[in-house]
Point group: C3
Chain length 270, copies 3
């Protein structure tokens, strides 16, 4: 089966199974993450108190960890939920938002990486480079532009951490350590809406909840968001902008289907 | 006065009085709850630090409690605000989100039920069954389908807890322990938007802020949301979906009026 | 240079520089604040753990403090970030939401005012009056109507606190202690959307990140929001309301430009 056909199959499965996706995520984009998860047909649940995360994750189909507004108290909850998910073979997706920006974030991700096994890690180039031990300058949570060696970085880090690595940017790179795929969809306006990265991660979580092929799940989540960004942009009329664009992203994810992925998807095996 | 005429009267009163609705609510849908409260013409205030909740609730017209992202620290705040509201005869509305999902939620609601008097409790069938002591399986925060005996459950629980019980689902059931009403409005797409249940609870809070007829207030809040869901769905054009639908819910609540409730409302005394 | 030409120049600069605006803000409107900051062309970052706020603010261009859902633990973070920002001459904007509503808020703002130097403070009339030591009645977080002496209050308080004071309402008043400007844009529907005040403050933060002329920055932030409110309202069709209106605010801020400010701006030197 070709990769885009695999993604299409997974999309149908998401809608049939409605996987429950447990999020321990940032407070800024939480609502958008819940709604994008519901839009694709999965079922979101946000819960982060240490007293309940193990119970919640135990009946979930995937766990999404996002450190965008990390607080010390949350680290314990993440570790508890993560260990339980590993025990039960529930896939965990990590979004190491701004990992290079502060010691707290860097150390938190280091602790997570050394305690929990992740199925997919998605970040922008500067985040993934920081994770890979490269020296980079981070300006906030935006993505760096220099990504000439993205494929190599993704592949090596995927092997090192035994996970799928997804680097999102102008062209997205996804690797499981063996295969490398480049995804050339998306639109620049996606960078003008807060949380499109987080939402991609939630979509990866939704796909991961119905398969063990996390390479296909990562590609599915990213391509769903980036094609939706293209469709949302195309739909804009005079005087419309990022507000309407954001609304249409949810519309497009809701209406995503096999024909669109076949027709619009720019997935390439590198 | 018939029940729908009572609701229409209350809606006018909400717009005239602009009741202040204090929310101690979940972090996922907080913004939506604030905006739906403002959309109907009431005035939202979100505050949850134990140092200020008693002062806030004291000048409010209603208190909405939602445990969707309950944290241990919040329980104290809820108890303080709840006791003060009871003292001052300010109505309290409870949304026991996911009560059956974890021990923390179950025990929290039990503590609340045993300490505070509620004017209305709104949940889906599995939540209300858990509250009523029935054995049910919960998958996340979505609603169960088996509701053949909803009227009986609502009626008995309303008597037991001396409150109005509202069970929302395909057909909503509301009872004060004497009367039982069924509400047959709504649209399936409402289940694909995060927080429509929470928003219904906020609308019940808005209606409750201007009356002591909490049966009518509960019916008003629910019918306002479910008719708005129908109107929002009808307004959708090609390629629109849950994003536009959500936006139109706020539009429809804002534009809700007596004629619409009279014409579209499917309220039945059982 | 006339004031509106200064604002237009700053707007271009925001889009060229993309200043990073660190927010320690309220949980209700956080997502909207991030998106409005991105909509105008600046770059938002929300971070509030005491362990990382000093690092975050050190590479930011402005700091926005909003106490809308203040919690005791946050006060420390605000003080740490604020002192660091002052040290590095990074402008700080304060939104003293509901300062008159509770002791916690009043004392928090007092502590902040006595520890940190602010570049701009924006509030509604009752908030600014409370800050100025006047006796006022607050109903929630909405604005009082009595503002006949707004210019005088703004001017005196600006001198006393050595800051720019912005009082938003039907007519907005901005003063640096010397000059006083009145801004007569805006639309009543802005009061029916939660967080339009917070978003104005974020826009002031965005403008402040590219200048030391905080009077122009405050006027720029407010006028951008209030003209956007007018445009958003004008764009509404039958059956649309606050939902579509909110979406169009983001569209309008994204599309804001010099011609619009020149043509629509009602800025007057008092």
């Amino acid at each position: 089966l070709e990769i885009n056909e695999k993604v299409i199959e997974l999309l149908s499965k998401v809608r049939a199974v409605k996987p429950l996706v447990h999020h321990i995520t940032n407070l800024v984009t939480m609502n958008d993450c819940a709604n994008i998860t519901a839009a694709i047909g999965a079922s979101p649940i946000m819960a982060f108190d240490r007293k309940e995360v193990e119970e919640i994750v135990a009946f979930s189909n995937a766990l999404v960890i996002n450190i965008g507004t990390i607080q010390e108290e949350l680290v314990d909850s993440i570790l508890l939920a993560g260990k339980k998910a590993n025990e039960l073979s529930i896939p965990i997706i990590l979004d190491p938002v701004g990992i290079g920006a502060t010691k707290l974030r860097y150390e938190t991700v280091n602790k997570l990486i050394n305690t929990i096994g992740f199925s997919v890690i998605r970040g922008n180039m500067s985040e993934i480079k920081t994770l890979a031990g490269f020296q980079v300058e981070t300006k906030g949570v935006d993505s760096a532009t220099d990504n000439f060696d993205a494929a190599e970085i993704a592949k090596r880090l995927a092997r090192k951490l035994n996970t799928v690595i997804a680097i999102t940017g102008k062209v997205d790179i996804v690797s499981d350590g063996q295969e490398v795929y480049s995804l050339a969809n998306g639109h620049e306006m996606l960078t003008r809406v807060s949380g499109t990265g987080c939402m991609s991660t939630s979509l990866i979580g939704s796909y991961s909840g119905v398969t063990t092929d996390y390479l296909a799940a990562a590609i599915g989540g990213i391509i769903t968001m980036s094609i939706s960004g293209e469709l949302a942009y195309k739909s804009l009329k005079d005087n419309e902008g990022v507000g309407t664009f954001k609304t249409r992203i949810f519309d497009s994810v809701y209406n995503m289907n096999g024909n669109l992925i076949r027709k619009e998807g720019k997935i390439k095996n590198e």
